[in-house]
Amino acid sequence: MIAWTFLTALIGSALLFLLPARRAGLARRVALAAALAGCLPVAVAVWSFDFGAGAGAAGFQLEVQREWIPALGITFHLGVDGISLVLIVLTALVAVAGILFSWNVERAPRHFFALYLLIIAGAYGVFLSLDLFLFLVFYEIVIVPKYFLIAGWGSTNRSYAAMKLTLYSIVGSALVIIGILAARVASGLDTFGLLELAAASFAPGLQLWAFPVLFLGFAILAGIWPFHTWVPGGHVAAPTAASMLLAGVVMKLGAYGALRIAMPLFPEGLEAWRLIFASMAAVGIAWGAGAALAQRDLKFVIAYSSISHMGFVLLGILSLTSLGVAGGVLQMVSHGVIASLLFAVAGRMLHDRVHTRELAVLAGLGLRRALPFAAFVFVLASAASMGLPGFSGFIAEVLVLVGTWGAFPLLLLPAGIGVLLTVAFTLKALQQAFFSRAAGGRESADAGAQYEPISLPEIIGAVLLLAAALGIGLYPQPWIAPILEAMNSDLMRVLLP
């Protein structure tokens, strides 16, 4: 049943490819229908998920297991635990919102949405796979359409950014493949099954080099410092929906892989490398925030803030405390929602109307009056991004820092600097983009008339994402409980002391 998450997206994608070119207007409706159809199996999974399954169980529910390539020990094995559950909910949410914010794509919409749905399918698949070969297949499905979306529909410096992003991704996935093959060969087992491999014990010598290879392969996609430079260019060049997906979901694939595969497979390697990677994550928090402060393009600011926020994810999962890991996973969801919202405002609501993202130029336009809804959403999204209480980011960051305190107290310093710089750059961007005095008295009551009014899909998308950020922030219980439950499974338990 859970296979229908990515199957709906794939069917939608195929339908869009086959759609005749002149029915371009139909494309977005098909895409939306496919994304909504994908929400159904997600909803069913949430509905039928047993939240009180208890410790000791394998931890995965709603499993699907079929023979695929028996000769190589490859199976079609899917399953959900609490961690993947919250992440497929995130994917469903961002998928729908991204389409709503791409309602105005005029250039070859069917190809645009077809590629978009391919990424969605890949993301669902990654979060659900329990067979590492299957995992790799989905992981690669995500990379290729990303390139085409940026190169074909992007803006600033798109071909360079697309190529850079793709090369980074490919290097990352090459490392992942090496790591996975190493695990399979060294285990001596004839399987790619994650659970079977994780149960095998690996020689410390192997773990010592295989862990960093596998972990870094994943962490590159999660934007770990200093392998983060693909993030700003790629996010900025991407069309709005692709930025939303990149920041909202794709970066999470890396963090998820690190947590789900790299860390449980090689616990001893993890122990040896933990401090180094955690330090890199913490430096990334401060570094991303500092670099964001120096940016002049609104999208660059948001892209750098993503690096900073993803640093919290990695720091949290590396803390190896149940609170820290829960915080890290919750931060994946939180950042997924907030970053997509910020990109939606910057890309769709502002850039598509004003045709610039230069903060200095925006400052002269008096956009608060011209686009009040965009200003309203951006204020709330900024507050959420700063980690103000009431929004999801607050809970997530608190949990991560509580966990970090137990594991690496000194790393709170760069993290704290990052938190402060986040306030600085967020307020700077917010005030420059919306709340500056309009040049030459252009700020009049009818200032909005020159821009196309905010459309209904945009409002729905914004409300959807804002509601998620607020909902998690006010009542995080339904999100945290399954994540913590998942940490009790056989697979994940090795991580916690």
């Binding site: 199957l7 794939l10 994608s13 195929a14 490819f17 086959l18 079929r66 695929w68 079609f76 070859a108 190809h111 077809a114 391919l118 190169a151 074909g152 850079k164 090369l167 200093p226 392998f227 430079t229 700003p232 570094w287 991303g288 500092g290 670099a291 964001a292 402060l293 120096a294 940016q295 149940s322 609170l323 829960a326 608060r368 507050a383 103000l388 209480p389 009431g390 607050f394 608190v398 949990l399 820092l401 509580v402 305190w405 704290g416 938190v419 402060l420 710089l421 306030v423 600085a424 307020l427 700077k428 005030q431 709340f435 005095r437 009542y475 995080p476 219980q477 945290i480 409980a481 913590l484």
Partner: protein, 671 residues
């Protein structure tokens, strides 16, 4: 309903009406300005009523009355619960009443003051939101809930300072306030996490298991790490947060700039309530601070430094609100000092008394500026006493309360109590002498302001044309003036009712206690100091003097020193040169490193790959025959074809790819 249930209903009803009002006003159309003001005022009145009930209950409850109601916010796994809670005791009940009362008066005043602003609805929305968060902060029984509300009042403060964001100064001030207080908040946040790590809970009181109860405090005071106990470290971290919010040196720089906000905001948030939140936090967590003598000393010395520096700088300011802002800094320093030297009751009483008379002074300053055409420079005012008699009278009362005029003003007795506590501090006599100096300066700068604004002749056209403000603005002034006098009856040494309420015990009426040997010398001494301050101000600024308009006679007397004070000890400029610059440059450095070093490494890798391919290509061409070249040409043509696909001919390729992938997966799912 049981009595306790009613109490908690009332307690919950304190922050909820303003919160509901804020939610309603958020979606209210901008033209409904009058109804918006009415909604906000009614909600605030409800909060006031509920606070009154709660206070009555606390007073009736007698000795050490304290009720807590804890509930689960969310659960982390089976054993870790994250609870929040409400708390009422004699520490927060009077403050609740004060906040809702001053809030109500400021709301009413705002109807007149902001009535003409096109964004008045938004203004009342923010103001109600602030009120809700502030009241929530006060009723919190959990450091976590307190921190949440703490952040929200910071947000409200940011929104309200920057309310006139078209003014670049206001936008800058708002940002500065938020960032500087956020630095303090980081300290509070770390302290909170540390406390949680040590104690396993963040509830203040929890039937013996709370962090402010003896069982936990004993553990905190015992364990030592890095030369200090956990209690010391946590208390100091919490104090960083308190210092940020309450404008203590060296975080005070944001508070004077915050006066860029509308005057009611300055009165309510940046004088009476929010800035006192830091003091309240220390008072709330006092048992924790008491567990560490080091932490208390730090509080005392920082408070003393703040009291003195604020008073010094206030002497040389010209803007009417800026003088009051530095005065607020100085008075907050007094409160902290009092907490540090072991006088939490005096601090709390000064907090309450100060809230009333400082709100009065700010609203009075608003009335003054309003009356003379938004003039703010006290040197360009003068003679307003005759033209604005009601404002003059109220302002005079506020000024005398702040300056510590003897006997009939609450400020006199609260300051007296603080001096008394400082005198009794066994650790060092320093803070006591500093407090005396600050008392003298306070009397001086307030008299200076009074004389320049209300006496003598008008020194500008606008001041000569001044008129009294509308009734809606003066009525709150009159009530606040009454409140600057009345509270005195409950906190004199003759009848220490307030101390008995907070500390427990019975208050006995005995006028003779005023003449007790440990009371009267200090009483007389501080009266003399106040008299000296007023006299000096009269000598320099007496109404009959002649001087060029717009020039402060103090400039000639103090010389270079005046300039240093007028420039606020160059504090801002130092920060600009150090911290701000360091942030900016490190940000640029990170961005540049990204572009040149990491980006350069990528470019280098790409260049190497290209070099390698060129080499391979060269070798191939030399070594291989023409037929192979033809094949290569064919490949290149294919490449160009693919390149064209970018421009829309991607269709076939992608279709094949997509359909193939889908088919494959469908097949798999089927199997």
């Amino acid at each position: 309903m049981t009595e306790t249930a009613t109490l908690f209903l009332a307690l919950a009803l304190i922050p909820l009406p303003p919160l509901a009002a804020a939610a309603v006003l958020l979606f209210m159309p901008g033209r409904l300005r009058r109804p918006a003001g009415a909604i906000a005022v009614v909600a605030q009145a409800l909060a006031l009523f509920a606070s009154g009930t709660v206070l009555v209950r606390v007073v009736a409850g007698g000795d050490g009355f304290r009720e807590v109601l804890n509930f689960t916010w969310f659960q982390l796994g089976a054993e870790t619960v994250v609870p929040l809670g409400l708390l009422v005791d004699a520490t927060n009940a009077p403050v609740l009443l004060m906040v809702s009362l001053v809030g109500l008066l400021v709301f009413i005043y705002s109807i007149a003051y902001m009535g003409g602003d096109p964004r008045a609805v938004r203004f009342f929305c923010f103001l109600s939101f602030f009120s809700a968060a502030m009241l929530g902060l006060l009723v919190a029984n959990s450091l976590l809930l307190l921190f949440i509300c703490w952040e929200l009042v910071g947000l409200a403060s940011y929104l309200l300072i920057g309310f006139w964001f078209q003014k670049p100064a206001a936008a800058r001030a708002a940002r500065k306030a938020f960032i500087v207080t956020r630095i303090g908040d980081l300290g509070l946040f770390l302290g909170m996490i540390w406390l949680y790590r040590e104690a396993g809970t963040l509830l203040f009181y929890d039937g013996g298991a709370g962090v402010l109860e003896t069982a936990v405090l004993g553990g905190l005071a015992a364990g030592a790490a890095g030369g200090m106990t956990a209690a010391t470290a946590i208390a100091l971290l919490l104090f960083i947060g308190a210092a940020g919010k309450s404008g203590q040196v060296p975080f005070h720089v944001w508070l004077p700039d915050a006066m860029e906000g509308p005057t009611p905001v300055s009165a309510l948030i940046h004088a009476a309530t929010m800035v006192a939140a830091g003091v309240f936090l220390v008072a709330r967590a006092y048992p924790l601070f008491e567990a560490s003598a080091t932490a208390l000393s730090v509080v005392a010395w920082v408070g003393a430094a703040t009291a003195l520096l604020g008073a010094c700088i206030a002497v040389a300011q010209r803007e009417i609100k800026r003088i009051l802002a530095y005065s607020t800094v100085s008075q907050l320093g007094f409160m902290m000092l009092s907490l540090g030297v072991g006088g939490p009751v005096a601090a709390l009483f000064h907090l309450l008394a100060h809230a009333f008379f400082k709100a009065l002074l700010f609203l009075g300053a608003g009335s003054v500026s309003h009356g003379c055409g938004e003039e703010k420079d006290v040197l360009r005012m003068g003679g307003l006493g005759r033209r604005m008699p009601l404002t003059f009278a109220c302002y005079g009362i506020g000024m005398m309360a702040l300056a510590g005029f003897p006997f009939f003003f609450s400020g006199f007795w609260s300051k007296e109590a603080i001096l008394h506590a400082a005198q009794a501090w066994p650790v060092s006599p320093g803070p006591f002498w500093i407090a005396l100096a600050a008392t003298f300066l306070t009397a001086f700068y307030m008299s200076r302001q009074m004389l320049l604004v209300f006496f003598g002749r008008a020194r500008s056209e606008a001041a000569a044309q001044a008129h009294e403000s509308p009734r809606l603005m003066t009525a709150p002034l009159v009530i606040l003036a009454a409140l600057s006098v009345l509270p005195l009856v409950v906190a004199t040494p003759a009848w220490p009712w307030f101390e008995a309420l907070v500390r427990g015990g019975e208050a006995q009426w005995a006028l003779s206690r005023l003449l007790a040997p440990e009371v009267w010398p200090l009483l007389a001494g501080s009266i003399l100091l106040v008299g000296a301050g007023v006299g000096l101000a009269w000598w320099i600024y007496h109404p009959g003097r002649r001087e060029a308009a717009g020039r402060d006679p103090l400039e000639d007397r103090l010389g270079a020193g005046h300039r240093v004070l007028a420039e606020e000890l160059y504090w801002d400029r130092t920060y600009d040169f150090t911290v701000v610059r360091a942030c900016r440059w490190s940000g640029r450095l990170a961005a540049a490193l990204d572009r040149w070093i990491w980006g350069g490494a990528v470019a280098l890798a790409a260049a190497l790959a290209r070099l390698f391919s060129a080499l391979a290509d060269r070798l191939d061409r030399r070594g291989l025959n023409h037929g192979f070249d033809l094949g290569c040409a064919g490949l290149r043509a294919g490449g160009i074809g693919l390149h064209r696909a970018h421009r829309g001919q991607l269709h076939f390729l992608l279709t094949t790819l997509g359909v193939g992938a889908v088919g494959l997966l469908l097949l798999l799912a089927w199997l």
